[in-house]
């Protein structure tokens, strides 16, 4: 692991093999494509990496392998000087403390019968964080995700989707991780709420220096969040680089297609002849299809 990295992922590969498949004698074994195919990247302290791609691209499997929620077939994940792939049992559990995951649907990842405060406290207690039983522990975490301390006694169903996701983030922060992995953490939320959560991750990073791996199929969500982008397709990293560079000048054909498919309101209206001019329809001087970045 290079000096500057908090996490180093090397040649990660995962193939989902069907448990049983009838192979008739004399027939070749069907080739099964890898869900994750030779993925490597480094994550620096305080860095936010965005992993973009469509369904089936392997972005979710990649981060699940990194967190050892799925066992990869090959590759190494170095965290804090240890290769997670060589660990099991209690050493794995304690290493995992440093790497917490936030999922897409906060409602299904929170116990519906457990008060918010208890859910957050439990995450701290389970990893032996000193002072986790102190009410101030929960209050501080709620404050970090900008929820009032009074929410500790509420149940998940009393909260909006965005508030629930804040709770899920507070719970992920409870074991004092170095890395938070967000797997489509804003995909189920309304646009304005997505922006709130994105801003929250940016603030947390700026304030605490935490590193973030943020998986999303929405490039516009990643544009304001990620320092670096990884674009995945069919299990492979097809492009990686500084977010600004990848979005401004994508080198890979797939990245280009992905960017072109995103409906930008301003661009769409201009393409349809409605310019940003003074009057509706005055954009006639902008012939159809003449623009596009």
């Amino acid at each position: 692991m290079s000096e500057a990295s908090v996490l180093s992922v090397r040649n990660l590969t995962k193939v989902y093999r069907p448990r049983r498949r009838l192979i008739l004698p004399g027939q070749p074994r069907p080739a099964i494509p890898a869900a994750v195919d030779d993925v490597s990247f480094e994550l620096a302290p305080g860095e936010i990496i965005g992993i973009a791609g469509e369904s089936g691209s392997g972005k979710s499997t990649t981060v699940k392998c990194v967190a050892r929620l799925v066992d990869p077939d090959a590759g190494e994940v170095w965290l804090d000087g240890v290769n997670l792939m060589t660990l099991s049992g209690s050493p794995l559990r304690s290493a995992r403390r440093l790497l917490q995951v936030v999922f897409q649907d906060p409602y299904s990842s929170l116990n519906p019968q457990l008060q918010i405060g208890a859910a957050i406290r439990e995450a701290g207690v389970a990893h032996g964080i000193p002072g986790a039983r102190d009410p101030r522990f929960v209050a501080e975490l709620l404050d970090k995700v900008r929820l009032p301390a009074s929410y500790a006694s509420r149940l998940p169903r009393d909260l909006s989707g965005g508030q629930r996701q804040r709770v899920a983030i507070a719970r992920a922060l409870a074991p004092r991780p170095k890395i938070v992995i967000a797997d489509e953490a804003v995909s189920a939320l309304d646009v304005s709420v997505q922006t709130e959560i994105v801003n929250l991750f940016l603030d947390l990073r700026d304030q605490t220096g935490i590193s973030v791996i943020f998986v999303s199929h929405q490039l516009p969500v990643l544009s304001a969040l990620a320092d670096r982008l990884i674009v995945m397709k069919s299990g492979r990293m097809v492009e990686t680089g500084d977010t600004r560079e990848v979005l401004a000048a994508p080198k890979d054909a797939y990245t280009q297609a992905l960017l072109a498919a995103y409906p930008d309101p301003q661009a769409a209206l201009q393409r349809r002849g409605f310019g940003g001019g003074e009057r509706p329809g005055a954009g006639a001087d902008d012939p159809e299809g003449a623009r596009d970045e």
Partner: protein, 332 residues
């Protein structure tokens, strides 16, 4: 919209209120005042956050409100005919031949245990009263119209054998089976990948261009709305707060909520480090009880005492462009 009921008008919703309770008289409104019109051959967008009442409004057009839902007041007219007063028989005919609907999740609207062909021919025979053989032929040509390759093979498949995009094409083919004049598309691309979304949107536009079908397109994504729609209505907490030509509403938004919503749309532009995109402050939709007046006022940067009992009537600001916010100076 105020300048309604031209011969051009296909669908006209006027001050619709919908509530939930065991009995209609006990119901408090959740859709509190929706006025909307769709002209022939137009694509009209319905945009707003979850819980704003978009889907309920759509369902009320089909008279498909969920259990306990009642229309409390207002009217829905289709080609001048009162939809809310239709008999069961009229309603059946209305749903099967004049309006089609597709939903966000095509997997849950298809029967997982039956082949695509059986589901399509059943729907076609019911709505068109044709023979099984004709229905099969029609199903093949419908699948072909929505760009499904090898359509006859697909008829033998089960829904799980198709991708999300393909399933949504099948749903569209079924909805278009009787050549309805109105297609209601409720978040039809929300569950799909971006590149698949682009294909489905192109297809919807072609459906309009080739058949003259009007489309009521529900979306929370202003990108989709700007790409597709001629007009758009913006909903918040059960009210239409603004509506008009899409370019008018997007480029010159009048209601503070519309402005906040547009400002929060993420783009591909990479901002400077330290920049935070604007959000909508205040209590999220659905977390506070409605107490009259403008429901956005608790979150509105321009709120004033008068907002507490503003009537939420849509006032004209430009041709066909209306807003429920009556305050001068707000429309900067």
């Amino acid at each position: 919209m105020n300048d309604s009921q031209t011969p051009d008008t296909l669908l006209e919703i006027d001050d619709l209120r919908i509530g939930f309770a065991a009995k209609a008289k006990d119901a408090a409104a959740t859709v509190r005042g929706v006025s909307l019109s769709v002209r022939r051959g137009r694509i009209v967008g319905l945009v707003g956050e979850s819980g704003s009442g978009k889907s309920l409004t759509c369902r009320s057009i089909m008279r498909l409100l969920p259990e306990g839902g009642h229309v409390l007041s207002g009217s829905v007219a289709f080609e001048g005919e009162d939809v809310l007063g239709m008999s069961r028989r009229e309603l059946l005919e209305f749903r099967s031949t004049r309006v089609g609907m597709i939903f966000q999740d095509p997997f849950s609207s298809l029967n997982p245990t039956r082949r695509i062909g059986a589901q399509m021919t059943e729907a076609l025979r019911a709505s068109l009263g044709i023979s099984e053989k004709d229905a099969v032929q029609r199903a093949v040509s419908l699948l072909d119209e929505v760009d499904i390759p090898a359509p006859s093979d697909k008829l033998r498949m089960y829904p799980h054998e198709l991708s999300g995009g393909m399933r949504q094409r099948v749903m569209l083919a079924i909805a278009m089976g009787a050549r309805p004049r109105l297609l209601i598309a409720d978040e039809p691309t929300t569950a799909l990948d971006t590149t698949t979304q682009a294909q489905i949107l192109r297809l919807l536009r072609r459906v309009r261009d080739e058949n003259g079908t009007s489309i009521l397109l529900v979306s929370h994504d202003f990108g989709v709305i700007a790409e597709m729609c001629d007009e758009v209505a913006v909903m918040y907490d059960g009210f239409v707060v603004e509506s008009g030509p899409v370019e008018e509403v997007y480029l010159r938004p009048q209601h503070p909520y519309t402005r906040a919503l547009i400002a929060s749309v993420p783009t591909l532009t990479v901002p400077e480090r330290g920049y935070r995109r604007p959000t909508i402050p205040g209590p999220p939709l659905g977390t506070t009880a409605y107490e009259g007046g403008c429901p956005f006022s608790p979150r509105c940067p321009l709120a004033r005492p008068a907002c507490a009992d503003v009537p939420m009537t849509l006032l004209p600001v430009a041709p066909a462009h209306v807003t429920a916010c009556p305050f001068e100076g707000v429309h900067a």
